[in-house]
Symmetry: C2
Subunit: 412 residues, 2 copies
């Protein structure tokens, strides 16, 4: 059950000039489901990405990194991205690398380019060999239906345990140019991104230089996908890719330009929506929780505390139960690892309800006020540390019976 | 449902000369249940403890620390410990400290000693005022039934969401003296001790100097209570206390003595049993998991990886489902924060089954072998890092529907 996550309507998803999307049913893990996606880029497009920090990063992540690094040297642009679901191609060693490279080679041959101009992505079960022959066999089908207005099918094709496809669009007017941005993302478990989330793709028709795009993708990831957690498990396959097709007239070459500021704001805004969609569709989620930690000495300590709250199974089950058992939040703050935290300066709010004051129960706090907020489907936890001017926000969901059911049944 | 946790039989729990235990039904949170415990010590007893590192440490923990510190100065020995369940007296600010001190004062008056000679302990709900009047009213009842062979009732009196009391005894022959050790502990959620567990009390009739006892309690905690996790939540009230009544003839005054070595081995052995009992009775536990990480460059990195596996909700739900979805273990190793980990040197075993070899799936691994082990109620995960000679072990349990049920219902 997703939390206030509207189904994307295909007609509302705007094509981005310079990118075509084609999907296939390749039977990678299950029959009769879209499980393969090709995104074909215009010749002048730039691509930048951020990837998981998991040491067991998947073979496709390693290949993506190598191809993006090679691009700096060769100058050969990326021509296509290929995504499969059903199998993560992670924990697969040398054979996995060969499989990811074979996928690139097969698509490159069909598109008449070099394998190094292809970026591969996988998501699904870890530690199982990639059925690369099925992927190869599915590629012609995906290429046959390449078209610009295929974002909805693309969002469906990258789903695993997601209950709903995740996609959104924006148009913004920058320096007199109408710029389109459309993105898709998928979750829904093993989500505590560190540099990027499971899979997110965001395309714009603006022209953005490689250097600027690399800066922008990091900035956007840090303000969106790097602020969410479902279960604290950082995936082996996290990837967030930003694509600028360069078909529109807007040309962004400098970071300190008004054009960059406007484009960056739009990219961050859309990235946050896509990231929050992952949380809203978190495995078993029934509540969407925003955790804001303010008045910290550093952003890092605010994030530590926000994640400590967001990862606590006790806090998350209390949200599931709509039980204002708010001492659990204090406990999670206390063990977050901020060693010199003076709890006597700390205040805690649940939406507008002042729960804890100077580290103890607020004398004016009434249980029924906490209860009222806990029953909502969207809740903000606000912690004021009284230590400085830094702040951080993390988005998460509750921990329900369905999380256990989904993850106990995922492979079976 | 506890995992292979035998009910302690009162007759098997050996009295420790020099300590008497009395319990009461004080109605602290619920009627008709044992919720107050007094442990009265012989005049020559020494006491040492380790406490939670949570910055929101509870009022009684703060008072314990102060009284143990004061003991170094005044030399006045600890005469009694008092434990209440139903209310943690944590997140209660100045009022909570006053309540903990009032508890000590009331018991001191009844025992004709100073309040600083009493150590108070609380466990239960956080952020609610301690009903100190009910505790005061219950103390005479607890004192009225003080007796040496009351360990079983003591174990029952400190339970919260525990499904079974936890207690065990040992007798060891050291330097010709028969020494008795008996201990009790309680869990069962908010368990990821950092210096000590929720509540553990271990008494021996050996005579142990204060300095040696302080060394021993830290050593024992590090090898037992600090190696367990249920949900990764470090409690506000964790306390592990070691009591040496000094009634027996054995006198341990030096750390590098054969007597210390023998006593230390017995204390660690019993501490491990008590700590493992907490995991076996972890909230909703259906499996008991031992995670051993070997061949690390340091104990610290082995512990990081072991806890990363032990805290992963995805790994824990896979154990609950008996599903050998073992890629989740690799993912948890990968995000443990060991930045220079070379996964191509890593091997993974599930009991005797070699699952991953050189960072990839072992070609000889068969799913049915993994399945066989996953169905067991006790499972060992063994990770070999190929980096050095350090190792660490962590004990944990699975994550089941009952964990969610228990924690969604705990207060309601």
């Amino acid at each position: 059950m997703a939390v206030n996550l509207p189904l994307p309507i295909a007609a509302n998803l705007k094509p981005v000039a310079g990118i075509e999307l084609g999907h296939a049913e390749a039977g990678i893990r299950k029959a009769d489901r879209k499980d393969l996606l090709v995104m074909k880029l215009a010749a002048g497009a730039t691509v930048a990405g951020v990837f998981t920090t998991n040491r067991f990063c998947a073979a496709p992540v390693q290949v993506c990194r190598a191809h993006l690094e090679g691009l700096r040297i060769s100058g050969s642009p990326i021509r296509a991205l290929v995504v499969n679901t059903g199998n993560a191609n992670a924990g697969t060693g040398e054979a996995g690398l060969a499989d990811a490279n074979a996928t690139c080679a097969a698509l490159a041959e069909l598109l008449d380019c070099e394998p190094s101009q292809i970026l591969p992505f996988s998501t699904g079960v870890i530690l199982e060999p990639l059925p690369v022959d099925r992927i190869k066999a599915g590629l012609p089908q995906a290429l046959a239906n390449l078209k610009p207005d295929n974002w909805h099918n693309a969002a469906v094709a990258i789903m695993t345990t997601d209950t709903q496809p995740k996609a959104a669009s924006r148009t913004v007017l920058i320096s007199g140019q109408t710029i389109t941005l459309t993105g898709i993302s998928k979750g829904a478990g093993m989500i505590r991104p560190n540099m990027a989330t499971m899979l997110g793709f965001l395309a714009t028709d603006a022209k953005v230089s490689q250097r600027v795009l690399e800066h922008l993708v990091k900035t956007a990831a840090d303000k969106s996908f790097n602020c969410i957690t479902i279960d604290g498990d950082t995936s082996t396959n996290d990837s967030f890719m930003l694509i600028a097709t360069g078909v529109a007239q807007l040309d962004v070459t400098e970071i300190d330009s008004p054009e960059y500021a406007a484009l960056s704001a739009a990219v961050i805004d859309l990235s946050q929506e896509l990231a929050q969609m992952i949380v809203r569709d978190g495995e078993g989620a029934t509540k969407f929780i925003t955790i804001t930690v303010e008045e910290g000495a550093s952003v890092e300590e605010c994030r530590k505390i926000a994640y400590s709250i967001g990862h606590s199974p006790l806090v998350k089950t209390a949200f599931f139960a709509s039980d204002p058992n708010l001492g659990r939040i204090l406990a999670a703050i206390g063990y977050a690892g901020v060693d010199d935290l003076d709890v006597s300066r700390l205040d805690l709010y649940l939406d507008d309800v002042w729960v804890a004051k100077h580290g103890g129960r607020n004398p004016d706090y009434r249980e029924q006020d906490g209860q009222r907020v806990m029953k909502q489907s969207e809740i903000t936890v606000r912690v004021k540390l009284g230590r400085g001017g830094a702040s951080a926000t993390v988005w998460t969901c509750d921990l329900s019976h369905d999380y256990v059911t989904i993850n106990a049944d995922y492979r079976s």
